[in-house]
């Protein structure tokens, strides 16, 4: 049993609350990604689960045991660090064998286990080399193997792919997912890269300023963000935000900003300052009742799609992601609209989601 539960976990450094009372339950076998900007507390949380940092208050449960006071070595974890943390003075073999040697496993068994595990991840041919002579991807794999060899119940990963180049990163992402599927262990993965989070996670935990903003499956977090921060964190290019006023209507509400008038039937959100959010892929050209004029100020062709920057009179341009086939030129004056079911509204002051 390798489920993880965090109860009111807090870590205070001097005057900063790095982690502020988080509650999280991770079922056994899940691939959970902690994501957020730097300083949000994700690494601190991971370190507390590992036992490298002691919580100021709160508890950590692994399986049925409350491990808050346990030493890192007692928790049966495997951890991969951003810097990989391979022992530079040892060969690859010795690196992988080290955790076994600590546990005083017999030398013959060590040799066989190391070779077996190395072969599964294709590093068997590297065993005699030293870490400094390995390529980025090879070093990555060795770091992984070193955690695998003790068969831990939980794998912790602190931005392990950030030192790799883009192509390798994508390859390793797939390998990690395959590994997870084969092992069925619990994976807790920390990253600041939202694309990584989206592609790898069973569930995503979005963190900001020490608190959990939202927990959910990738598509939930993407399509149904709980506040402005989460909405703006995912998606490239980022979601468009328009600041304006919300006014109640007999059958719902209406959002107003500059020339925009968006009707929101069935919306019970009340009135006051609000922020409208809409993703670039949901901005499209149209004529008709709910459409507004804008000038195309910039075009960025991506190959399969094209990004258009639309000047509608507001403080910043709206970004629209349209099909590459669309014939547009800079300076064109066109009308655009939003896909009505994909518009989200946030409170102007708190940033919280105003539900429909």
């Amino acid at each position: 049993m390798a489920s993880i539960r965090l109860e009111r976990l807090t870590k205070v450094f001097g005057a900063t609350r790095a982690v502020d009372g988080i509650d999280l339950a991770i079922p056994d076998g899940e691939f959970v990604v902690l994501v957020g900007p730097s300083g949000c507390g994700k690494t601190t949380t991971l370190n507390m689960i590992a036992g490298l940092e002691t919580p100021t208050s709160g508890d950590i449960w692994i399986g049925d045991a409350c491990v808050t006071d346990w030493e890192p070595g007692e928790r049966n974890l495997g951890m991969v660090f951003q810097s990989l943390a391979l022992f530079p003075h040892m060969t690859v073999f010795d690196n992988i064998a080290f955790p076994l040697r600590i546990k005083r496993v017999a030398p013959e068994e060590i040799a066989s286990r190391v070779r077996a595990v190395s072969d599964t991840v294709h590093v068997g041919h590297l065993l005699d080399k030293r870490p400094a002579t390995l390529s980025g991807g090879e070093a990555q794999r060795v770091a992984l193997v070193r955690t695998l060899v003790v068969q831990p119940s939980v794998f912790l990963m602190d931005e392990p792919l950030s030192s790799l180049d883009a192509k390798l990163r994508v390859e390793m992402r797939t390998e990690l997912k395959r590994l997870h599927a084969a092992l069925r262990s619990t994976f807790v993965y920390v990253t600041h890269d939202q694309a990584e989070a989206m592609t790898m996670a069973d569930r995503i935990v979005v963190m900001h300023q020490g608190r959990i903003q939202q927990v959910g499956r990738p598509l939930e977090v993407y399509g149904d963000p709980v506040n402005r921060f989460v909405a703006g964190f995912f998606g490239v290019p980022a979601m468009n935000f328009v600041e304006g006023e919300l006014q109640p209507e007999p059958d719902g509400a209406r959002f107003m900003a500059q020339a925009l008038r968006v009707t929101l039937p069935g919306h019970g959100g009340g009135s006051g300052p609000a922020v409208l959010g809409v993703r670039p892929e949901h901005v499209r050209f149209a004529d008709g009742r709910e459409s507004w004029p804008a000038t195309v100020s910039l075009i960025e062709p991506l190959g399969d799609e094209t990004l258009l920057f639309l000047d509608y009179g507001g403080p910043s341009s709206l970004v629209a992601k349209v099909d590459a086939e669309e014939k547009v030129a800079v300076g064109d004056r066109r009308s655009f609209t939003f896909r009505p079911d994909r518009v989200v509204l946030f409170d102007g002051t708190t940033g919280g989601r105003l539900c429909r």
Binding site: T54, D69, W70, E71, E74
Partner: protein, 288 residues
């Protein structure tokens, strides 16, 4: 499975550290105290830990201008001239060494001048015990008429502390990114200008540390000073040594005063540079 073992350790740690603190401070404390004692209190049984009648007479005796005389039984010790001599020799010597050595360190770091092994070869100079070179040096200097001159001793000091200067400045120069210099040159700066406007400001603290370090080294040097100078030029360590050996009737007070005075500036300097010493002392072997 508990983390309670922390409670005893801090106490043990403080106990051990305090023990060594006592060992370290005791001789210094004693010397400073003695410098304020008058002759009757120097050697008592039981020894006086604190002067009952503190006095400045030792300092007065030692600091008034005049020359020291050493004869068995009768001795007057003046240190204004020795302090002056030490300042001149150490100051000028260290300055010259730092200027030359830093330039050389830069040249080696950027251009590899002198070959890959130059710093190691230079270091081997330092391995030679000074006594080995002292003997021929005297003969050499006598022939060149450099014996007992400021110039002679300064030159020797420059040669002996250059290895340290080079090694320490190497560490500091290597911290300056080459790209900055290249950018400046592309903007049209001459090499000298680059040194002045880019390298110098960025290695300024390193230069200061290195200077202070070799200053302390030269200030403390005894053997070469004794052999190569003695009368015209008489540095502080020489004076101390002369006094010690001429002195059967232990003139503790004034000697303690000299010791304190000799130590004070150096301790202050050392205090200022201690943090930076770490960087320069790495000999390129510390991981960043």
């Amino acid at each position: 499975m508990r983390r309670g073992r922390r409670s005893l350790f801090p106490l043990v740690r403080h106990a051990l550290l305090l023990a060594w603190t006592a060992v370290t401070l005791f001789p210094i404390y004693w010397m400073v105290m003695t410098s304020f004692k008058h002759a009757g209190e120097w050697v008592t049984w039981p020894p006086r830990w604190f002067p009952h009648e503190p006095t400045l007479v030792n300092y007065v005796k030692v600091l008034t201008p005049g020359t020291s005389t050493f004869e068995l039984g009768r001795q007057t010790l003046k240190i204004l001239k020795p302090i002056g001599d030490s300042l001149i020799v150490s100051g000028v010597g260290s300055l010259l060494a730092v200027v030359l050595g830093s330039a050389l360190a830069y040249s080696w770091a950027r251009f590899g001048t002198g070959g890959r092994n130059y710093p190691y070869n230079i270091l081997s100079i330092r391995m030679v015990p000074p006594i080995v070179i002292a003997v021929p040096f005297v003969v050499y200097f006598v022939t060149l008429r450099l014996l007992d001159t400021y110039t002679g001793l300064i030159l020797v000091y420059v040669a002996t502390c250059l290895p340290y200067v080079i090694w320490m400045m190497l560490a500091f120069v290597e911290e300056v990114p080459v790209e900055l210099e290249r950018a400046a040159r592309l903007m049209g700066a001459s090499r000298l200008r680059v040194l002045r406007s880019v390298v110098l400001p960025l290695t300024a603290s390193g230069l200061v540390v290195t200077f202070l370090f070799v200053f302390i080294l030269n200030w403390s040097e005894l053997l070469l000073a004794i052999t190569l100078t003695n009368t015209e030029v008489s540095t502080l360590p020489i004076t101390l040594n002369k006094f010690q050996s001429a002195n059967e009737g232990r003139d503790y007070g004034p000697q303690a005063a000299i010791g304190t005075l000799a130590t004070l500036p150096v301790v202050v300097m050392g205090f200022l540079i201690q943090k930076h010493l770490l960087r320069g002392f790495s000999f390129g072997l510390l991981r960043k």
